[in-house]
Symmetry: C2
Subunit: 365 residues, 2 copies
């Protein structure tokens, strides 16, 4: 039924060992025999059995990707970056998602054990201490936004603190004295860092911190909507809102519109992540730009570095990289002059990007 390496060997008049060497170019094979073997393989439509291959070679050619969710622009773009880089290196992607609880993550990780050569894990909701023992020790792992103090794993971290600080500092530079923050989920690492950045910016500007200005949220648009409503009820009313991610900013924008509040005239607004829709909300959203796709690609790159034969078991310094989050000024913060100018240089790779119209948007504005 299925054609094996033996069939190829028989047809080409050689042994299976030679077939293996010829097809993988893993040993010396005379040019002429190699051609004969390749021809036989093609004629028989031979495709090596990957199970057998990885049984003996202990490599599967797959990378595992564990994310809290697949939905939304952020993850969508992230996985796109991961996929592109993996494909370029000949790896397949084993994707698993919808995991927040530690137990789910553990189950997913167990399911992947032995099936993947490396792992990209993003688990902002679980603490380092509880995540660590679940991670496999026999394959390289890259942690996204879960910095481990002990440096036992590769980590790749967005500069949540710095980005948030910069965004809030920008809002404050407009003279706002009461800037509210729509916080991310409790115990979420990204959320905590962004909150820290918010507080730092306030402190640096000498603007007093007020507990009531820190509104709870959970990164969903819905919570952003409710958060903005809460802000509007406050007395005196804040004049600016920093949403800890763009999705909440969208929700807030929606609430402000429903309440008849003009943005940015009556309320300035800023977000975080710079997902592509930020360019075509009304008004376009000031936010912290994160090179999401590059983030995914870089994660795979780090994995690939650890996977070069020889770097395997040898303990080496675990890279800890940080990717910047930089302010991008659009109209929602009320910057005069932001309309005509180009807030940041446009990454050439973004131009003509599928499904995105932001270059057009920014030019047109």
């Amino acid at each position: 039924m299925t054609v094996t390496i033996w069939d190829v060997a028989r047809r080409a008049g050689v042994s299976v060992a030679t077939v293996s060497r010829a097809l993988n170019r893993s040993g010396p094979v005379r040019e002429e025999t190699r051609r004969r073997i390749e021809e036989a393989a093609r004629e028989l439509n031979y495709v090596p059995n990957s199970a057998a291959r990885s049984l003996i070679s202990r490599r599967t050619g797959m990378l595992g990707v564990l994310l809290p969710d697949l939905f939304g622009e952020f993850f969508s773009e992230l996985i796109r970056g991961i996929d592109g880089a993996a494909q370029g290196r000949g790896y397949h992607l084993l994707v698993s998602s919808s995991h927040d609880a530690a137990s789910e993550i553990e189950a997913a990780l167990r399911g992947m054990r032995g099936r993947v050569d490396g792992l990209v894990v993003m688990a902002p909701m679980v603490e380092a201490a509880v995540l660590k023992p679940m991670l496999p020790r026999n394959v390289p792992v890259v942690l996204l936004n879960s910095p481990f103090a002990d440096g036992a794993f590769d980590t790749l971290t967005v500069d949540n603190y710095g980005g948030a600080r910069e965004v809030v500092a920008h809002l404050l530079s407009h003279g706002h004295q009461r800037v509210a923050i729509l916080k991310g989920p409790e115990r979420n690492h990204d959320a905590e860092e962004r909150l820290r950045g918010y507080r730092a910016a306030l402190a640096e500007a000498g603007v007093p911190w007020r507990e009531e200005l820190e509104i709870p949220g959970d990164f969903t648009g819905e919570s952003g909507y409710r958060g903005a409503e809460a802000v509007l009820r406050m007395e005196p009313r804040p004049t600016a809102i920093f949403a800890a991610n763009d999705a909440m900013a969208f929700g807030a924008l929606s609430a402000l519109r429903d309440a008849g509040i003009a943005v940015p005239e009556e309320m300035a607004l800023a977000g975080f992540d710079d997902v592509s829709s930020t360019r075509y909300t009304i008004p376009p959203l000031t936010t912290a730009h994160v090179a999401i796709r590059e983030l995914g690609a870089r994660a795979v790159g780090m994995l690939a570095d650890a996977l070069v034969p020889g770097a395997g078991a040898r303990p080496r310094p675990r890279p800890r990289e940080t990717v910047p989050a930089t302010l991008v000024v659009r109209r929602s913060c009320g910057c005069t002059g932001a309309e005509g100018g180009r807030p940041r240089p446009i990454d050439p790779s973004e131009r003509g990007e599928r499904g995105s119209i932001h270059t057009l948007q920014e030019d047109a504005v």
Copy 2:
């Protein structure tokens, strides 16, 4: 180094056959020995080698997913549905994307051969005749929106024709005499069907068809932007636009805003897909609702049906299912009275959905 079934057998004082039977519950094992074996396995932290297992059992526990892209709300939601259903059935997902050209698809398919137990393929850009020979014959395949006339594969198809027809008919019911369409890519099956629906609606309403009203596009927001610009240059100017997908509608909306054209007063607009952002554009977008997540879940369901042991090689009638695309009226089409009402019953599963705020939106409007 790695612990095998032999280690477990030795520790439990039984043979490997018994260990296998006990752990898989695949044969009679005395209760007491089973407990001993399970304990040994747990103590040793034994995890079966999946390569060896699938080498002998000829099953990998993985489903392949081949999509043209991973970006954008549509695919994001689709893969979410696929992932949920696969996870529920104990399958892992091997994901591959960014394939439009036939050669890329063929390469991706070859790479997956033997690694997956089943395949979900969405390839709107390649014709049935060229796609068919690339598909594996030894594992079940579900085709998304690629209906094959010969019924050689399971197919799951969105009613593009019917949905487009309904949307355009609705626009026409407002009395519009010149309705432009922003078309999808050439040779894209979905795009062609939606165009067909547009033409049918015109014919049924007795509104004359005009070639110049069919504007080329490619499903990206950018092409929607340009398409709307083109529409605005026409003389006499059309009074309604049907964008063949929501992304293009968003682009069009953006162009209309930049041109100072009020929607829906000066130009009615409708889209297709009902991705979640349609609820919080300004104005909210009238579109054709497709249960995207359910679409993905159903695809996995069909695969699972074909994968129950026994249904394997036996040739059976290949199911050909169609999922409806139904009109959902929001404000962009200019319906009076659409503001207060609830256009369609809200699917309970959508409530409180992560990253979506549309229930709030629709209630609040």
